[in-house]
């Protein structure tokens, strides 16, 4: 980008013309590409989201995006930003249009980088009934067991995240305990040898649930069609 300072060269007019030409070519190309691919990309994103949500909420057939704020919940259009202090969540419905559950993203710093998971929340049992990993860079062979380790995933078949009586926080914070010492429904049995990653998942879910559920649960009825 070495633009010399002598702008008043004789070719000033030509320069501007060229730049305009280049800019317009580029503009056309970019806008064309954006318009041309927008549909496919949106479709891709939808499929990916659905796949992720359906995995953590078995039996779901449709997804809608919402944002929860202190003021209540509101639907989001595709790609729309979440209002400040709000939390994005997905409401999943079965083929009959009945609310199957809520999915939301949780993340916490793991061993290498942030571990991001999507968890499915069942409104009836007030528990988490499934998780799926969105992204992580944990050590293959150790940390990435959170995707495959059956015993670990069993923690999330009914992880207790009930709210307390005034609906301000979880009755029992989600805790990760040492492998083989899980006693309560709100505890997560860590993977032996992958404690850091296990803890990241637990911490992420706890943080997210503590924030989302008190805003969401009072308005849960609004989601039922």
């Amino acid at each position: 980008m070495n633009q010399p300072s002598q702008i008043q060269t004789p070719s000033g007019g030509k320069m501007i013309a060229t730049m305009v030409l280049v800019a317009s070519i580029c503009g056309v190309l970019i806008v064309g590409a954006f318009e041309g691919t927008a549909g496919a990309i949106a479709e891709n994103k939808r499929i990916m989201l659905e796949r992720a949500v359906f995995k953590v909420l078995p039996g779901a057939a449709g997804v809608r995006e919402y944002a929860a704020t202190a003021a209540g919940i509101q639907p989001l259009a595709a790609g729309e930003a979440v209002p400040a202090r709000g939390v994005r969540f997905y409401a999943a419905y079965d083929a009959a249009g009945v609310l199957k559950g809520i999915a939301a993203e949780a993340g916490a710093k793991g061993y290498a980088d942030t571990v991001r998971v999507l968890y499915g929340y069942d409104t009836k049992c007030q528990c988490i009934i499934g998780i799926g990993v969105v992204s992580m860079r944990e050590t293959p062979g150790i940390g990435d067991k959170i995707i495959t380790d059956a015993a670990f995933l069993k923690n999330f078949e009914a992880l207790d995240v009930r709210l307390n009586s005034d609906l301000s926080a979880l009755t029992n914070a989600v805790r990760v305990v040492k492998h083989g010492t899980k006693m309560n429904a709100w505890e997560i049995d860590a993977i032996a040898g992958a404690t850091v990653t296990s803890k990241a998942v637990g911490r992420g879910i706890n943080d997210s649930a503590q924030k989302l559920l008190p805003m969401l649960v009072p308005h849960i009825a609004e989601l039922k069609p």
């Binding site: 793991g110 061993y111 050590t139 062979g141 150790i142 040492k178 860590a190 040898g193 850091v196």
Partner: protein, 345 residues
């Protein structure tokens, strides 16, 4: 009479690289013996395989570079023994061989051999296998198992390039009480369990083959320091700074932080401080530099143990110290005689 013409000095001391290295090997032998007594055949096989690989790699690369053999300076032997001592006793032999090869090839030969390397070769070997085989390197075996002198631990004999054999059945049959497979540091980190001091002194805790008995290590280190084959300032700085930081955390952080004996006696702190951090080629030469270097290692070790994802940080702390060595050396040049502010008399 033909006269020899030389320039001064005409006297030399009896110090020599071989002599220093030979004594380090000598000082490591009790540690090796203890590890074999503790873990039996598997530890012995690991020591032999890793050391042999190191020597073979050194010889092979000597030949490739068309230079005289450098085996007789004993440095490859030290690398092999130290490397084996930092690996878990049940580490598959083929992985040990990989570690040995990497230690000599990448850790040393690429830089031009002994004296030119900038990182401790043994630690490069270990860091490489730690990154490559993270599961195997954190799989511990019980000490003083019943059949240790008649049977190998199954994972030891894993076929090359294969996933390690499962040791569960062997460990169950070995009838060791309360073997959890976790090191004292890990048990603190995840359970806040305080290992009894005597277990850690006598080697009854899970650990790498050479790290278990702090007393034995200290005795061997004392021998080296007393005979001036080792810079005593480095281990003092490493352990001293680690104790100081641990003490400060314990004082202000209370029960959230482990007791000091756990910091000093567990893991590889003593082994690393005495035998790894003191590697001459990769530690500073300046008088002030060695203290800074030691302190950095001690502090970083404690930081990684307390706040990092790993339970043990000595290896990485020493490697970081190695990486900082050229900088430390550069900025701690001694004050030349005759440049001090004169005292008015």
């Amino acid at each position: 009479m033909s006269m020899e013409l030389r320039t001064s000095p005409h006297l030399v001391s009896d110090r020599s690289v071989e002599r220093i290295m030979k004594h380090v090997v000598l000082a490591l032998l009790p540690v090796c013996t203890f590890s074999v007594w503790q873990y039996g055949l598997s530890a012995l096989a690991l020591l032999i395989v890793v050391t042999t690989t190191c020597l073979a790699t050194e010889r092979f690369l000597n030949r490739a570079a068309k230079q005289a053999s450098t085996l007789n300076d004993w440095s490859a032997t030290i690398t092999g023994l130290l490397l084996a001592l930092t690996l878990p006793p049940a580490f598959p032999l083929w992985m040990g061989a990989v570690a040995g090869f990497v230690a000599i090839a990448i850790g040393k030969a690429l830089f031009g051999g002994l004296g030119h390397n900038v990182f401790n070769p043994a630690l490069i070997g270990r860091a490489f296998v730690q990154a490559s085989f993270p599961v195997a390197i954190t799989t511990w075996a019980p000490p003083f198992a019943v059949h240790r002198f008649s049977e190998f631990i199954p994972s030891t004999l894993t076929l090359p390039f294969m996933i390690p054999n499962d040791n569960a059945a062997w460990i169950a049959a070995a009838t060791v009480d309360g073997f959890t497979g976790a090191t004292p540091l890990a048990r603190w980190k995840y359970e806040h369990f305080v290992y009894p001091v005597q277990d850690m002194l006598t080697g009854a805790a899970s650990a790498s083959s050479g790290e278990t008995s702090a007393i034995l290590l200290l005795l061997c280190g004392l021998y080296l320091a007393a005979r001036k084959f080792m810079d005593w300032r480095i281990p003092v700085a490493v352990i001293g700074s680690a104790v100081l930081v641990a003490w400060a955390f314990r004082l202000y952080g209370g029960e959230a932080f482990p007791p000091i004996h756990l910091v000093v006696l567990s893991g590889g702190l003593v082994l690393g401080a005495l035998f790894m951090a003191t590697d001459m080629a990769t530690s500073p030469v300046t008088p002030l530099g060695v203290w800074i270097y030691g302190a950095v290692i001690g502090v970083v070790t404690v930081m990684i143990r307390y706040f990092g994802g790993l339970t043990e940080g000595v290896m990485y702390a020493i490697l970081l110290g190695n990486a900082l060595t050229p900088l430390i050396d550069k900025y701690t040049q001694p004050r030349v005689f005759g440049t001090r502010q004169q005292r008015k008399s």
